[in-house]
């Protein structure tokens, strides 16, 4: 379980398989967004001085899903399933699902984040990548 995270700027491990998303909150207008950035609030324009990092719970509700049957990039093998998820903490994200088929998947289902080991490729070693899966946390 010690493999590095694929995108440590987007999510952090909070012990074992538990994971939290690296989001932000605007101190001026209260807008909660993902991912964390330092350029300014896209809702009210507040600069970085007023932006604060906020870890978001990796759980939410499935608002849509799609099986992708083909992809131009040779490094990305199809098919795979993309989920659109409204996080319990507010922002909507899109992410690869753990499930390899959308059979039985339904909009409104509870979903949760899970760290999945992705095989090494080229110079990149095995890493843990965030995916989401259907099911309560």
């Amino acid at each position: 379980m010690s493999e590095a995270l694929a995108h440590p700027d987007l999510y952090v491990s909070s012990g074992g398989d538990a994971v939290r998303l690296v989001g932000m909150r605007c101190g001026r207008c209260g807008h909660v967004a993902f991912p964390r950035q330092h350029f300014g609030c896209e809702k009210c324009g507040a600069d970085d001085d007023e932006l604060e990092g906020r870890e978001l719970t990796a759980s939410g509700r499935l608002t849509s899903f799609a099986t992708v049957h083909m992809h131009q990039a040779k490094t990305i093998a199809a098919p795979f399933v993309i989920g659109e998820i409204e996080l319990d903490d507010g922002p909507t994200i899109r992410i690869t699902m753990v499930e390899s088929s959308d059979e039985g998947m339904r909009i409104g289902a509870r979903v949760r984040g899970a760290l999945v080991a992705v095989p090494s490729s080229g110079d990149t070693p095995v890493r843990r990548e965030l995916r989401f899966a259907v099911g309560a946390p």
Binding site: D9, F39, K43, S64, V68, H71, A73, R94, I95, I107
Partner: protein, 382 residues
């Protein structure tokens, strides 16, 4: 205080030209562009030296593409500039040419779109802000997600989306400039290879090469150059907006379309129900459903039933994508928005042949582009 287009002097489309949209070939891009410009000049029956300014919508050709092409019309020293606004590049070039004529800076301005397919990364991928999906959500997957949600919300079916492609391919079959000129049945569309979610290949637009040219002129120029007034089409409004943070964040293109279209219709002093012809951004079949509802041409959830009943056919309440749209005419990026103006103009002149919407008097052209941007024009028969 800001002013709508109608606060300035009238601007008219006086000449239109196209190079067919097609799969990428070895044809150099100046051949594409010059074909469209010469056709537009011939259509208006004016000569190149009458043109005072050029806006060239292109996303893929690269730096300094315009004079390298247009010098072959004979150098006149006029200002020329490239306009890049993703899929709305040609629409934006047309807007700038229209504004230049309306405000009196020029009497005749050319807007043109020319592109050839090229692999270029979006600047948005270089902002330093990363995404969770790591390149796995390309446009067809974005629209597949929106389509799935629409099906869930309104009990829509796969056939509802496929019918958009059937209609638009049927229109494109009568358009000699279209990249896809073959009629397709519902079975053809549904049984085509799946791409993502409910979308099959024939529900995704082809991106090829081509060119579109639109000449815009003032009353002064029409008089001075002896242009046939009966074939002039007035630009009634021009609206352009960009995305903001919406409560409904996923279908931002529809929210942006709702606002931009409302502004364009209001500035033109007309209602959505008055429109006879619409060319819209149907890069993917489901978009036509979303945008017709966002434009209030159809109530929420009702576009599929209206489509099934023929309301959007040529000869229906309002002909939608009579050119074939992006789905059949094609989406060469830079030319696409200018090409919509070409089709609307042809329709309002009554020169669209087998694609003619009867008694077409009022048309709307709509493009969205990655970013997201949206450009809407309303044109009316003079």
């Amino acid at each position: 205080m800001s002013k709508p287009l109608s606060a300035f002097r009238p601007a008219y489309v006086v000449g239109i030209g196209l190079h067919p949209y097609q799969r990428a070939t070895e044809t150099p891009y100046p051949v594409l562009g010059l074909t469209a410009v010469r056709e537009a000049l011939g259509d208006a029956r004016i000569d190149w030296p009458a043109v005072e300014s050029v806006y060239h919508g292109t996303a893929l050709l690269g730096m300094a593409s315009t004079r390298a092409m247009l010098r072959h019309l004979g150098g006149t020293g006029i200002p020329m500039q490239q306009v890049e606004n993703a899929s709305a590049s040609g629409s934006t070039a047309f807007r700038l040419a229209t504004l230049e004529v309306a405000t009196g800076v020029s009497d005749v301005a050319l807007s043109i779109g020319v592109d050839k397919p090229a692999a270029r990364s979006l600047a948005g991928s270089q902002t330093g802000i990363r995404s969770l999906e790591s390149g796995r959500v390309v446009p067809f997957t974005h629209f597949a997600l929106l389509a799935q949600r629409y099906m869930d919300r309104y009990n829509a079916t796969l056939e509802d989306f496929a019918r958009v492609a059937v209609k638009n391919h049927g229109n494109g079959a009568h358009n000699r400039y279209a990249q896809r000129q073959q009629s397709r049945s519902l079975d053809d569309v549904l049984n085509d290879p799946p791409i993502a979610g409910p979308l099959t290949r024939l529900q995704c637009c082809p991106v090829g090469e081509g060119a579109a040219a639109v000449l815009v002129a003032s009353d002064t120029a029409i008089e001075r150059l002896g242009i046939d007034r009966k074939r002039c089409v007035r630009v009634l409004s021009s609206a352009q907006r960009t995305e903001v943070v919406y409560a409904e964040s996923s279908n931002f293109d529809a929210e942006l379309t709702r606002q931009t279209t409302a502004q364009a219709l209001q500035d033109a002093g007309v209602a959505a129900k008055d429109l006879d012809v619409i060319e819209l951004h149907d890069a993917f079949s489901v978009e036509e459903i979303f945008y017709l509802e966002a434009m209030r041409v159809a109530a929420a959830g009702e576009a599929p039933a209206m489509l099934r009943d023929g309301a959007f056919d040529i000869g229906g309440d309002v002909a939608v994508s009579p050119s074939g749209g992006l789905l059949a005419m094609g989406h060469p990026i830079g030319p696409t928005g200018a090409g919509q103006i070409v089709e609307i103009t042809r329709q309002l002149r009554g020169e669209a042949g087998l694609r003619q919407q009867p008694q077409a008097r009022l048309g709307l052209a709509h493009m969205v582009g990655v970013g997201a941007v949206c450009v809407v024009h309303v044109l009316g028969r003079h």
